[in-house]
């Protein structure tokens, strides 16, 4: 409609925008901005996909949402919010999980010319990256964390993909540290959120989640026994929670008595634990009267206890209406975790923390602000016009990767796109799409077809995810029809029993027959011995202790690249997200 101004700058490319269909995954901080930018680039059809609903804490940046929209679908609300604006793009909103293969099978993705990622978690990012690899659709990846951000255009197999540079894995802690010998606030927060909360308020603990002796990385027999006993008694407490009567708070005293006194006394009896550690002290105090507590201030132990009782009662009553999960934006559950963590810290002589601080740790909160999202979304939308160059060479050479800069002469850094990493677990793998009617073929038929097609010399192994479907030691399933063991959207891993050819990934798509993709499976690479990373940096730059500090993961793995205009080599940061998980609790 209003494309005369676009034509001045983009010329005939303007028509190509008009004729293109794009997918935007995520309608959060970057997504809201990006949707506006894509609309004003006049894209023909824009699909908005998000599984989330709107929360109060989104409103400081997700400008398409208002107070009245809280709890509504992000994708739907975003679509409605821009409808008043004069655009001629067709908009389609999807409220759902991108990884749901029933809702979004492969055929859903193949309709798009470009995919924009505006996601907040690594899992979904890796998933879309993989889809882009299977479909070869250009993917523009973006993320922000506080005042920093990043945009990475990905041309599958031509340039570095999202998995080419290893991402930092979330931190985990040994069970004993959490359950019997905490020494840092984070240990107590993890205990409150991931152990106590689900024990008291979670659905019935299935056998899988029950603590088994082998899970406890301890050779202290007494400790293992104590922990197991503690677990069983917790089940009794859960019964109390479920039977709680409104107004009656006495059941909470029993909970307090057990978890903050008896359990501690039991641990104290295991003297070997306390030879080199300071002994914890069972809680001896009474709750104080509380009114409104300031989340920025440190509370007293009495205040924490009062809040613990209060939040436990509230959550117990809510359970009658349905399950309650921990959510950083759910005040009751947050209050519970804050007070329980602080009480435990107090017992173990660990400094207590404010609610504000605990919320950040327990909620894996990454700071987020409108300004950075606006900058990165702008870069993301702008990089899409390079997709329309005639040749791949041009697309790749003109595209730029954007990341935050520490140099005063650059507000952000940009660099050319790096080539793919030959050792990348995602894009160095040979892959293709198999179209098949799963109900018609058996595993054996599939096996034979694959061996014939790609010239495996002997036999192959077939697996779906971690599940083995067939190998020469496990042939029970050979006559099983494929639909009994896998479904459309699954990825099959094919490995060569003779270890001559490289492994192969096949994405299962719905078809009438069995058709294998035309592929050349290369010979298996002999893995190099991993050299020990020698000599840590001798300079004085220390990693931060702040949980939100991004750590440099380029290290020795990723390709080094130079910033433009001779700005010198730059260290590439971990890809970050609007709300990406930093630690797993």
């Amino acid at each position: 409609m209003y494309d005369s101004h676009l034509r001045k700058i983009f010329g005939n490319q303007t028509d190509q925008f008009r004729q293109s269909k794009v997918l935007m995954v995520g309608a959060g901080g970057i997504g809201c901005e990006l949707l506006k930018d894509l609309l004003l680039m006049n894209y023909g059809e824009i699909h908005i996909l998000d599984l989330d609903t709107i929360d109060l804490s989104n409103l400081n940046r997700q400008f398409l949402f208002r107070q009245k929209d809280i709890k509504k679908s992000k994708a739907m609300t975003a679509q409605q919010a821009v409808s008043h604006f004069n655009h001629s793009s067709k908009l389609v909103a999807h409220h759902g999980n991108i990884m749901d293969t029933n809702m979004f099978p492969l055929s859903f993705f193949t309709q798009f010319d470009i995919i924009f990622n505006a996601l907040d978690n690594l899992e979904a990012r890796f998933y879309v990256n993989k889809i882009a690899l299977f479909t070869k659709i250009p993917l523009i990846e973006s993320g922000t964390s506080g005042l920093k951000g990043q945009v990475q255009p990905i041309y599958p197999y031509e340039t570095e993909c999202f998995a080419c540079i290893p991402k930092e894995q979330p931190k985990t802690f040994p069970v004993c540290t959490i359950r019997s010998t905490p020494s840092k606030p984070i240990h107590c927060i993890t205990w409150a959120k991931n152990f106590l909360f689900p024990q008291l308020f979670g659905d019935d603990v299935s056998d899988q989640e029950k603590l088994k002796p082998q899970d406890i990385e301890s050779d202290n027999k007494a400790e293992i026994e104590a922990l197991l006993k503690e677990s069983n008694e917790l089940l009794d407490l859960k019964v109390l929670v479920n039977q709680a009567v409104p107004g009656d708070r006495s059941f909470v005293s029993k909970i307090v008595e057990k978890i903050f006194k008896e359990d501690i006394e039991r641990l104290l009896r295991i003297e070997t634990l306390w030879k080199t550690r300071e002994k914890p002290e069972p809680l001896k105090c009474e709750p104080s009267e509380i009114e409104l507590l300031d989340g920025q201030e440190l509370w007293t132990v009495e205040e924490n206890l009062a809040l613990f009782i209060d939040s436990t009662c509230k959550i117990s009553q809510r359970l009658k209406q349905g399950p309650v999960d921990f959510d950083k934006d759910d005040e009751d559950t947050l209050d519970f975790v804050v007070s329980a963590a602080n009480l435990r810290s107090y017992i173990f002589h660990i400094p207590m923390k404010t609610k504000f601080e605990i919320k950040q740790i327990a909620g894996n909160i990454i700071p987020a602000v409108a300004t950075t999202n606006a900058i990165m979304a702008g870069f993301s939308a702008l990089s899409s016009f390079h997709v329309f160059h005639a040749t791949m060479k041009e697309k790749v050479s003109k595209s730029r990767m954007v990341y935050d800069s520490n140099q005063p002469t650059r507000f952000v850094n940009t660099s050319g796109l790096a080539p793919k990493n030959p050792k990348c677990p995602a894009c160095s793998v040979t892959r293709g799409i198999i179209t098949v009617d799963l109900s018609r073929f058996t595993i054996d038929e599939l096996r034979k077809a694959i061996i014939d097609k790609y010239g495996y010399s002997d036999d192959i192994g077939i697996a779906e995810g971690a599940r083995l479907l067939y190998d020469y030691d496990f042939d029970d399933n050979l006559e099983t029809k494929l639909d009994k063991v896998c479904s459309y959207g699954n990825v099959l891993f094919i490995s060569d029993a003779a270890e001559e050819l490289d492994s192969l990934e096949l994405l299962v798509d719905r078809g009438n027959d069995l058709e294998l993709p035309e592929l050349e499976v290369p010979a298996k690479m002999v893995p190099e011995e991993n050299k020990e990373d020698e000599g840590e940096e001798d300079d004085l730059i220390m990693e931060g202790d702040d949980l939100t500090t991004e750590s440099d993961i380029n290290g020795l793995h990723g390709p080094k690249r130079k910033a433009e205009d001779g700005a010198g080599p730059v260290k590439k940061k971990r890809q970050v997200a609007d709300d990406v998980e930093v630690i797993e609790l």
Partner: protein, 494 residues
């Protein structure tokens, strides 16, 4: 909204600038001149962040171009007052923020300093940098941002006489004073015998290794030497951490960063300068006396027995308190020596200052719209400087013809550029790449591109927030965005 709701709504950004920063934003007033796309994109981010009051100075009416580039006017607004429509749509984004329209002509407002002095920051989104406005605001000490965008290019320029930044949020190596141990710390380190070595924070191990090496060799250990000795202490988690952080033994506690050393040498008139400079003078005296800065007192998390960690933390905190007390005395003395009211130096200000005293920054601005030394061949961001210059040439054309230059005006714009350049005598030839930049600008004929406006608005608003909260380090002082190459570049106009 009560405090709790405010906290939840702004939670994600308060983790960047804390509740103090958020309060400052809520109490701030910003004036934005011209309600075009780049202005509205800037304002949008300020409204979302919770800036208290924003005034749009604009007397235009909504045109078709506005509809094509500006998300905050809609078709029904056509021919209505643009500032009023934009203020309404932007105001809806956040009830905590008042967005108002001022329809008085900008030119008439220029004669009224009282209008401008009510603002904490002014943003000029016109093509014209407007020298009168620069002079006026400079005298009023109101920071001014010039922001504009044409086609794939944009510029952001800050005019501000002096910015003194305390809460810079700069990351730096922890100040553990391995080589400058004081009595209480020494006593504690000595009390740690072999049996307790496995339980203490790595910092104690580093001090022990450092001191023993000094005694034996009469010099500091290198990182490698420290690592070798640390490796003999066992294989505990604290030893591992110590080995990782071994480079700290080479850090000289007495050494000042280059910026800070420079800052301490500045000559200012202490009877009139801001209280920041009194504190800098006190810092200078403290440093002269002790050879080190006051201790910031924060101890990073370290693997350790909790009790030992708390003991050590207590020792660092106590030292911080003693240093701060001495520093406060110095500051108060200086204050009275220069006949200043004692209440100018707030306790909370001193605490922040001492915590950040090793990462202070000062920027001194310039009123100059342009300076010739930036067009030299050695300029690392020449292409970006060319863009800035292109905007100035277009402005000269616009002032003469009262319309935007187009492709047909190529020769005239080039001639204008040459004559402009000749005013800066040092220049010998047309800078590389300037012609291409001019052509690209002419192609756009003054039209803005929404994407570039959104991105530029993001950059501008981020800088405005830094100014309003007085946190983080701002850019200094000129930046352009080059959408052809997807590159930003910033440099300082002296």
């Amino acid at each position: 909204m009560n405090d709790n709701e405010v906290n939840s709504k702004y939670d994600r950004q308060m983790r960047l600038w804390s509740s103090a920063g958020q309060k400052r934003l809520a109490g701030s007033a910003v004036c934005v001149i011209e309600a075009n796309a780049v202005a509205c994109e800037t304002v949008k981010n300020l409204v979302l962040a919770g800036v208290g009051r924003i005034v749009l100075v604009d007397s235009e009416r909504v045109s078709e171009e506005d509809l094509a580039t500006n998300f905050f006017v809609v078709a029904e607004d056509t021919d209505k007052l643009r500032g009023e429509c934009a203020a309404k749509h932007l105001g809806e984004l956040n009830p905590d923020s008042a967005v108002l329209h001022e329809k008085t002509l900008f030119e008439s407002l220029l004669t009224d300093p009282s209008f401008w002095s009510q603002f904490d920051c002014v943003v000029n989104c016109r093509l014209d940098p407007c020298v009168c406005l620069i002079d006026l605001l400079w005298d009023l000490s109101v920071p001014l941002l010039h922001v504009h965008s044409i086609g794939l290019y944009s510029l952001v320029r800050l005019y501000c006489e002096e910015r003194t930044m305390v809460e810079t949020h700069s990351s730096r190596a922890d100040d553990l004073r391995i080589d400058a141990v004081w009595d209480e710390l020494q006593e504690y380190v000595d009390s740690v015998d072999e049996a307790r070595l496995a339980q203490v924070p790595y910092c104690v191990l580093l001090i022990k290794v450092y001191q023993k090496f000094m005694r034996e060799h009469g010099r500091r250990p290198s990182t490698k030497e420290a690592r070798q000795r640390l490796a003999q202490l066992g294989d505990g988690e604290n030893v591992e951490e110590a080995i990782k952080k071994a480079a700290l033994v080479t850090k000289r506690s007495s050494e000042l960063s280059e910026e800070l050393a420079k800052l301490m040498q500045e000559k200012v008139d202490l009877s009139t300068a801001s209280s920041f400079w009194i504190l800098v003078e006190a810092l200078k005296q403290f440093y002269k006396k002790h050879g080190v800065l006051p201790l910031s007192g924060s101890l990073p998390d370290m693997a350790s027995n909790t009790e030992e960690y708390l003991k050590l933390q207590g020792i660092y905190r106590a030292k911080h308190e003693t240093d701060k007390e001495e520093f406060t005395k110095l500051a108060l003395q200086l204050s009275s020596q220069h006949n200043r009211a004692a209440d100018q130096i707030a306790q909370s200000g001193i605490e922040l200052f001492v915590k950040n005293c090793s990462v202070l920054e000062v920027h001194r601005g310039s009123k100059k719209v342009w300076s010739s030394d930036m067009l030299s061949e050695s300029n690392p961001v020449l292409q970006n400087t060319n863009i800035y210059f292109g905007f100035l040439a277009l402005n000269t054309f616009y002032k003469e013809h009262k319309r935007h230059a187009a492709q047909k005006d190529q020769s005239e714009v080039r001639a204008l550029a040459i004559s402009e350049l000749c005013r800066w005598e040092t220049l010998k030839s047309f800078p590389d790449g300037l012609e291409l930049v001019l052509d690209e600008l002419l192609r756009a004929e003054g039209t803005a591109l929404h994407n570039v406006c959104a991105l530029t608005g993001g950059i501008a608003s981020q800088e405005i927030i830094k100014i309003l909260t007085n946190q983080y380090v701002s850019f200094d002082n000129c930046l352009t965005f080059d959408g052809v190459r997807g590159q930003t570049g910033s440099w300082k106009i002296e």
